[in-house]
Symmetry: C2
Subunit: 159 residues, 2 copies
C-alpha cells in the first residue's frame, strides 16, 4: 500500500536533490510527488507518495525530519486529512462513441479543456479512487496521453 | 518568468535524485514539481517549473534529455499546451464574513471539501492565473494553510 508523507520545506536550491537522495538510500520507490508554493513565499509544501516496506519509510521520514531545510514532516497515514489529485487525460474519440464518452465525463464531473479532430482532453480532480475510476472507464476507448499531479493533502479540521 | 519543462521518465529508483542533481548544478530554483503515473505503469510524467536564466534552463533541458531514464523532454514554453494546477486552501471563517467568502468560492467555482469550527477548506483547479486570483481574494481573510500541486500540462490538439 502506498504511504504518503507531507513536508514543509524552506525554498532553497538543492532541497529536492537532498530529499530524493535520502529516499534513494532505501529500497523505496517514489510513486508520486507534488510540490508547490504555500501561503508563505519562502516555504513550499511537498507531498510524496512512497511504495516500500513500512520500516524503510519510517526511517526515511526520520532522516528527512532531521534535515536543516525541513520545517515539519507528517506521515499522512497517521492523520486525518483531505487528499486530492488532479488529472489531465487525452482520450481518442470516434463519432460513434461520443455520447458514451460524454456521459462518462458527466458522471465523473470531468471538464472538457481541449478538443482535436480525433481526441478530447478533460481535467478532473478528486481522491485517488475517483481518478482511478475515470481512468478505468476511459481506458477501453484509448487514452492517448495523461498527466497526474500526484496527491496533495491538508489536515482535516482547524489545525 | 518561470519556465516549465515536461518529461516522460522510466519508473526507476533514483530518477528524481538524478534529475534534481542535474538542476542543482546550475543556479536555478525549482518553483514547482509534479510527478505522477501515466497511461503506462512503467512510465511517469514530470512537470517542473523552473526559475532562472534562460541559458541555464536550456542547458538543464539538454542534460536531462541525455539521461538513460528519460524518454522525452519538452520545453513547454515553446509549445501549445493546456496547463492546470490544483490547490487546497484552508481559510479562516468568521460568521460575519461567511457570505462574502462563499461568494468568492462561487465566482471561482471552488468546491468546499472540509469545514471546522473556525475554518473552511476548498479545492479549486485552474491555470496559474486563476489559482493566484483565488489566493489573492482569500488572503485578507487569513489563509491558515495551503497546498498547491504544481502545474501539470498536456499538448493541445491530437498529438
Amino acid at each position: 500500500m502506498p504511504r504518503t508523507i507531507s513536508a514543509l520545506v524552506r525554498n532553497e536550491p538543492g532541497v529536492l536533490a537532498e530529499m530524493s537522495e535520502a529516499i534513494r538510500k532505501y529500497n523505496v520507490n517514489i510513486k508520486s510527488i507534488s510540490a508547490g508554493e504555500t501561503e508563505n513565499p519562502d516555504i513550499s509544501r511537498l507531498t510524496i507518495g512512497l511504495v516500500g516496506q513500512d520500516e524503510d519509510i519510517r526511517k526515511i521520514t526520520e532522516d528527512i525530519a532531521e534535515m536543516d531545510v525541513i520545517i515539519q514532516v507528517d506521515d499522512l497515514a497517521r492523520k486525518e486529512f483531505v487528499d486530492r489529485e488532479l488529472v489531465l487525460i487525452k482520450v481518442a474519440m470516434e463519432p460513434a462513441v461520443t455520447p458514451q464518452i460524454m456521459q462518462i465525463f458527466e458522471v465523473f464531473r470531468a471538464n472538457v479543456v481541449g478538443m482535436g479532430q480525433e481526441t478530447i482532453t478533460v481535467e478532473m480532480s478528486g481522491d485517488r479512487e475517483k481518478i482511478d475510476g475515470l481512468i478505468n472507464m476511459l481506458k477501453p476507448h484509448g487514452i492517448k496521453s495523461m498527466c497526474r499531479s500526484g496527491m496533495i493533502a491538508l489536515k482535516r479540521g482547524d489545525d
